[in-house]
């Protein structure tokens, strides 16, 4: 049966929406000093607990209101995004590199390598991730790099398991045997024939992992284990907002919305990318 060339699908709306939000948040974070209307650390007790712009009593220039110390909420969210994105990219990429490499080795070579790696992954995943993260940060000490290391150390297993399974499936394909017939060595086959076929999954997982990293960072900030308490972080803002929920709900609600939108966008973006860059699904 002759199959015609598959028609190219246009960019899906979810790729647009998710990508749009991420781009907006990322640009705001990068150009935070230029974009933020106020200094995120400047306290002004005259301006404490100002409501968002549409409510009575709002001050121009403080679009989303202020917290109990009179700091501008929007500016704090924008600056908090800087830390969120740095953690998301650095931690997810570190977890991805470690996990995917071990997953490829485990799935492709099998045997002893697979047995050892799989056992480690099993043991690793037996720890509850958030507790594990808190423990790690407590040992490593607070700070940006410890948060990144903690997330990477915990979450490489996610990549390892998925990539291992995909690699095993790919390794059974005839084209892998074919490459042996063509005279390729094992590493060459792994990189040339198997890796390109698992890349879409890696991309999707990477995006998902960035979302997870954002959450874990927020959780660590929430329990005050992330960065120095001065720098605004989304988790930190949420923790403060919780205390004044009855007087100023916006301090809790806006960072929560930001966090949810960002995490959701990362996972949707990854899924959409996967379908788009998969010539087989396309």
């Amino acid at each position: 049966m002759d199959e015609a060339r598959a028609p190219r699908r246009g960019v899906s709306p979810r790729l647009w929406l998710a990508g749009g939000w991420l781009l907006l948040a990322l640009l705001a974070a990068i150009f935070a000093p230029l974009v933020a209307p106020q200094d995120p650390l400047a306290q002004d007790l005259m301006l404490e607990r100002l409501p968002p712009f549409w409510m009575s009593g709002a001050e121009p220039g403080y679009w989303l209101g202020t917290d109990s110390l009179g700091r501008d909420l929007l500016s704090r969210l924008i600056f908090g995004g800087r830390i969120a994105f740095v953690v998301a990219f650095a931690a997810a990429i570190a977890a991805c590199v470690v996990g995917s490499t071990l997953g490829l080795i485990s799935g492709y070579f099998g045997g002893w390598a697979d047995r050892i790696i799989s056992r480690i992954v099993d043991v690793w995943m037996a720890f509850p991730p958030v507790l594990f993260a808190i423990l790690l940060v407590a040992v490593l000490g607070t700070g940006l790099s410890s948060v990144i290391i903690a997330i990477a150390v915990i979450d490489w297993t996610r990549f390892c398991r998925v990539i291992r399974a995909e690699t095993m499936g790919q390794s059974r394909m005839d084209y892998v045997e074919n490459a042996r017939i063509a005279g390729y060595g094992r590493i060459g086959i792994m990189l040339r024939e198997v890796l390109p076929n698992v890349v879409p999954s890696i991309v999707a997982l990477l995006s998902l992992e960035m979302g997870i990293a954002v959450i874990v960072e927020a959780i660590l900030s929430f329990v005050n284990l992330s960065i120095s308490t001065d720098d605004p972080t989304w988790g930190g803002i949420i923790a403060e907002g919780r205390l004044s929920i009855h007087q100023a709900w916006w301090v809790l609600v806006f960072p929560l919305i930001t966090l949810i939108l960002t995490v959701l966008s990362f996972s949707q973006f990854g899924e959409a990318l996967k379908t788009r860059f998969d010539p087989v699904l396309r």
Binding site: M1, E3, R5, I181, Y184, E193, N197
Partner: protein, 277 residues
């Protein structure tokens, strides 16, 4: 007479039997090939026929050393390759090529046809003039040059199998293993692929092992036939002799079970008592 390309003596292959694997520890080995002796003369097309479980595909994979035999010997072109380790096999691979049953799974979905055909060339030191060589390979199997930039899913089943042939023959190998290469194809496409392989084998003087479950296809293509059953050779002889005077009852059963496209009311051989009711 010239030395045969392949000399196989007492060949045994055992593979782990996963269905009997205990909860802990290794799967026990099951002997798939139980001592085979045969030669493949140079420039000949040999049919290897058998039903499922006969070990014909395992035999093929042992010949091109994708599997290591557990006993016996395989000598290829005067050299013992039975236990050669992979790095030493690599220089020999250009002469031990294979065409797969399922062209869908044997072509990497993420590579263009040109890159698939070019891979064995590059790996075997024929990387110069790659474009021209790929063009020649496409021409040889009757595919248009525009296919070089396409992907596997943009091709029909017959076209994919042509790519499989182009890739295997790009290196002008001494030996090609064709493993059930037409069993997934429609009859009209099957005829095209077989005529193509027939023509190329004659032109290039290839030695071919043609594995199939279909004796009618083998009769057309092969000069000699090896009939296998449960890991042993039941009968091996020249094709015409095998069809005209099969020596073993199993071979006779295999031949008579093929439904010819001819009216023959007696073929099903239904006991007449059954018709009465």
């Amino acid at each position: 007479m010239a030395e045969p390309l392949f000399k196989v003596r007492g060949l045994k292959v055992a593979l782990p039997d996963m269905t009997r694997k205990p909860l802990i520890g290794r799967a026990p080995l099951a002997e798939i090939l139980k001592g085979l002796d045969f030669d493949l003369p140079r420039g000949s097309v040999t049919g290897i026929v058998g039903e499922s479980g006969s070990g014909k595909s395992t035999l093929g994979r042992a010949l091109v050393r994708l599997l290591e035999p557990s006993a016996g010997s395989i000598s290829f072109d005067g050299r013992d390759i039975t236990h050669l380790p992979e790095p030493e096999l690599r220089p020999l691979r250009r002469n031990l090529q294979m065409i797969f049953q399922d062209p869908m799974s044997s072509l990497n979905p993420r590579r263009t046809i040109a890159s698939i055909i070019a891979a064995p060339l590059k790996q075997n030191g024929l990387g110069d003039n790659l474009k021209a060589r790929v063009a020649e390979a496409l021409l040889r199997v009757g595919l248009p040059q525009s296919f070089a930039s396409r992907y596997r899913h943009e091709l029909s089943g017959g076209q994919r199998q042509r790519v499989g042939i182009a890739r295997a023959l790009a290196l002008a190998p001494k030996f090609v293993l064709a493993d059930e290469i037409v069993s997934g194809l429609d009859v009209s496409t099957q005829a095209q692929i077989l005529t193509l392989l027939e023509k190329l084998a004659a032109e290039m003087g290839l030695t071919v092992a043609f594995i199939s479950h279909d004796l009618s296809v083998i009769r057309r293509l092969c000069r000699q036939v090896i009939v296998m059953r449960e890991g042993v050779i039941v009968e091996a002889s020249a094709t015409d002799a095998l069809f005209d005077h099969p020596q073993q009852s199993y071979t006779r059963d295999l031949i008579s079970a093929i439904p010819l496209p001819e009216i023959d009311p007696g073929w099903l051989d239904i006991p007449s008592a059954a018709k009465a009711t």
